[in-house]
Symmetry: C2
Subunit: 318 residues, 2 copies
């Protein structure tokens, strides 16, 4: 049964985990984006009200990820569905923009899932291409790590974000006592700049070690061994070393977090926020406080929060 | 309690599995190498009798991997042990040389484990450096994938083979119905030549996909999903494409194996032998026959065998 109006919540997500660059993401608890979508007699996808973005998001439906997500779902339908008149979308941003928390992915996923609900599509995995396309609208790159994690929940491995390939996302077990500490400095780092810092090529030897560390991270998560998972996150020799110089205070803050017991630390997405892997029983709050204090000593204000993994992903809400 | 004479069996092993190049190995059932080691009054490690190598292996103790393995164990001891008079080693080769079956690793591991047994060292993980050093004697490169798998048994992930780093090997669960089909053509391909064919650098995009495929392979083995494991083995875009042209008949043979139901196929180690991933219940023999037949059509004789994973690794035998 289809409905005339639906509301969807899409959680924040964190991509990369160091050695899982562009191929690992997780959804996290806390605030997210909310899309309200309704069937409309006006063909196509239209944007209604946007709240919480301080006027910064594009209003054109083809450039806004929420409407782009819905439009991609519409475009993916069999001809039989083409009688669908149109969809109007309201977006309530719960996530800050450019924060490393998958803000654009959350809007795109919420838009896509809301459109799917209106159209009676229940299998989330049919939406992978739509949410990848929506994410592409945000910055022109192809990466499904945030969007697939936001859509499906949990920790997901994304073997390929090539829009011309078969898209898949594999759920990796979530150790029950895993906590992520996220620290957001008052710094700006554009994703494009953070990508430009990366090497174009890597040596075969570095490729082997980076791939083995990623495989080790996944094995450690399967085994529930958070110490080991953290160690593999820290062994990133390609991405993190290239980006660390773009983040003032990086060395001091990550050092303080490690001293406070962080098992692994990496940039959240493209940064500048940092993510630490910790254990519920090992006082993640002290890691958060150590980070904020270290950044303050470097003259930079920051805020920190502690998260569990959101296992459900994007979902309909009343 | 230490003994005056011990016998050690060390199994064959297969490294790489495509996307796990230089970082994944497994021990397999079937023939292996056997070392008999005895305490001797003559200081140092000495080579006694070698059988089964048709006179091809070096007789100098520092160039033979079996004696090099034993010598590396001796050299790793605390000074308290320096009273050990000496060790004499006999080697019975059960594995063909340069076959992609970890022949040099098996001799090195057998030598190291035999020396350890004579010296009362029971923890195999204390021998990782010794077996890495022994393997290095064979071809001058540093890679622990064969040797660690041969030593520990099962499927092992080797994050680093850098002799200056901490050496570790992580056991990956073995799906109970996994069978490996190994096909050995009457072709020669020197490991050094096979290494020279590899690119020195890879693009960051290829690095990401190769690493994700390796992580996916490990996740699939953890989940016992052999179809998925095979798919990730097949997605190698760096190693296998560079080496395939060195193996006459590669395309025809791998094509025939896939048609016969192989879930994944890759070169065994540096080749020219091929390894297929299959399931006990899916008639691995037909994959073996298809491979031998396809190679015959290309004018090349070959033999094939079907294996389970040896979960125990190198061990003392009566």
């Amino acid at each position: 049964m289809t409905r005339k109006e639906v509301r969807v919540f899409a959680p924040a997500s964190v991509a990369n985990w160091g050695v899982g660059f562009d191929a690992l993401g997780c959804a996290i608890d806390g605030p997210g984006d909310i899309v309200t979508a309704r069937l409309s007699d006006r063909p196509g996808v239209h944007l209604g009200v946007i709240e919480g973005d301080a006027g910064r998001l594009p209003r054109e439906p083809e450039r806004n990820t929420a409407t782009a997500g819905a439009a991609a779902v519409l475009a993916s339908l069999e001809p039989a569905h083409h009688a669908v008149p149109g969809i109007e979308i309201d977006l309530k941003k719960g996530l800050p923009l450019s924060s490393g928390l998958g803000s654009s992915a959350a809007s795109g996923v919420a838009g896509a899932l809301a459109a799917a609900a209106l159209l009676g599509i229940e299998d989330k995995r049919r939406l992978l291409r739509a949410v990848l396309i929506a994410e592409n609208v945000a910055d022109g790159s192809w990466h499904g790590d945030n969007a697939f994690a936001c859509l499906l929940g949990g920790i997901v491995l994304v073997p390929s974000s090539d829009p011309d390939s078969a898209l898949e996302a594999f759920s990796i077990p979530v150790p029950h006592d895993l906590r992520l500490v996220l620290v957001h400095p008052e710094l700006e780092l554009a994703t494009a700049e953070s990508r430009r810092a990366l090497p174009k090529t890597v040596s075969l030897g570095d490729q082997v070690q980076q791939g083995a560390a990623f495989a080790g991270l996944v094995a450690a998560l399967h085994s529930g061994d958070l110490e080991l998972a953290g160690k593999f996150v820290l062994s990133d020799r390609i991405i993190e070393p290239a980006r660390a110089p773009l983040v003032p205070g990086y060395a001091a803050v990550t050092g303080a977090m490690r001293e406070a017991g962080a098992l692994g630390i990496c940039l959240a997405g493209a940064g500048p926020s940092l993510m630490a892997i910790s254990r519920a029983s090992q006082n993640p709050r002290s890691i958060a406080e150590a980070a904020v204090s270290a950044w303050k000593n470097a003259g930079i204000e920051s805020t920190a929060s502690i998260h569990t993994i959101d296992r459900e992903g994007a979902r309909l809400i009343p």
